[in-house]
Amino acid sequence: MNTPLPEDWNDLARMWQADAAGLSLPEIDEHLQREKKQMAGVAAAEFAGLGVGLVAAALVLLLTPMVWLGTVIILFGGASAWIALRLRRAGRAQGSGDLLQSLKDSIEREDWIAEQLRFGRVLSFVALFAIIQATSAQLFTLKAFSATVLTAAGIGCAVVLGALAWNVWLTARSTRRRERLKYLEDRMKT
């Protein structure tokens, strides 16, 4: 049976503070290890994506005469890696300001992330446009169906679309975070 909670605020505060179990050093150590593993996992996924792009570019450069396509993929991969690095380097704010300031800083950070990702999406569309234009021009010059040209263009498009899908996923997450932060900020100001 539940006993009634004390009505006096000081008694409630005493009850609240009586739960004094803290955290241990091994727990923090374990948390740091988990954090390190998660970061390594994300970095490995991004490196793998970049690796796939470079391998695709190398295959196109070595096995087909379409130097332009390999160059587009390499340039796109380099630019995408640069954006990913910028996002990674912009770590979280230290957060020692007050709550409303923290919310404001976090919303600004999400806006900055959205801007970087928008630039990445523009880059993807430019790369796709370049691949389609150049493939059409190549096919027009050959005046014949070429499986090599189409395969190489397909590889290029797949690399760009893969990066675009990753970008859209990150954008959706960032948008959700921003909406939530804005909601919390509004609630705190009310």
Binding site: E7, Q17, I28, S96, R187
Partner: protein, 163 residues
């Protein structure tokens, strides 16, 4: 890892971090993970501490920052709450400890059901922060803290009467 600074920070402030985390996260495992994240953030931010406020205000500010990030991240995850079977170390009899523990859990659950703007104030007041300290931590005026504090107490009392 044997950082004496971290050991001291943990000893003096980790209970506060754990209670703050639990007042926003109903899932005990996620709350523990959040408390760990808070303490890591406090440890990393410690070199920048310039005594501009009290240590626990500094810890509470960082804790709130991490809690906000956690809420923003966990937007799609439902809050799962299960009563933990764990009991605090028992100086009182096991029965007394169980009653006290369950009372604390009930109080925590009631506090969690307060609207955010009132919950933030109520939690810090329960932690023993003065109104100016609460205002400093949340970025509100002392007047706003006083108003919200009074309303939060009223809401909590109403919840205790009609849970």
């Amino acid at each position: 890892m044997a950082d004496p600074n971290l050991e001291r920070i943990l000893r003096e402030h980790s209970a506060l971090a754990r209670r703050l985390a639990a007042s926003h996260e109903a899932n005990p495992e996620a709350a523990r993970d959040l408390a760990q994240e808070i303490m890591v953030a406090v440890w990393r931010a410690w070199p920048a501490f310039r005594q501009q406020c009290s240590e626990r205000t500094y810890v509470a500010r960082i804790a709130h920052n991490r809690i906000v990030s956690h809420i923003a991240r966990a937007v799609r995850q439902p809050a799962l709450y299960e009563l933990s079977d764990e009991l605090p170390s028992a100086t009182p009899s096991p029965e007394e400890a169980a009653i006290r523990h369950s009372d604390q859990q009930r109080l925590m659950a009631l506090v969690r059901s307060l609207p955010l703007a009132y919950r933030e104030v109520a939690v810090l007041m329960l932690e023993g922060f003065t109104p100016p300290e609460v205002a400093e931590t949340l970025g509100l005026t002392t007047n706003a803290v006083a108003i919200r504090g009074t309303r939060a107490r009223g809401m909590l009392r109403a919840l205790m009467e009609n849970p």
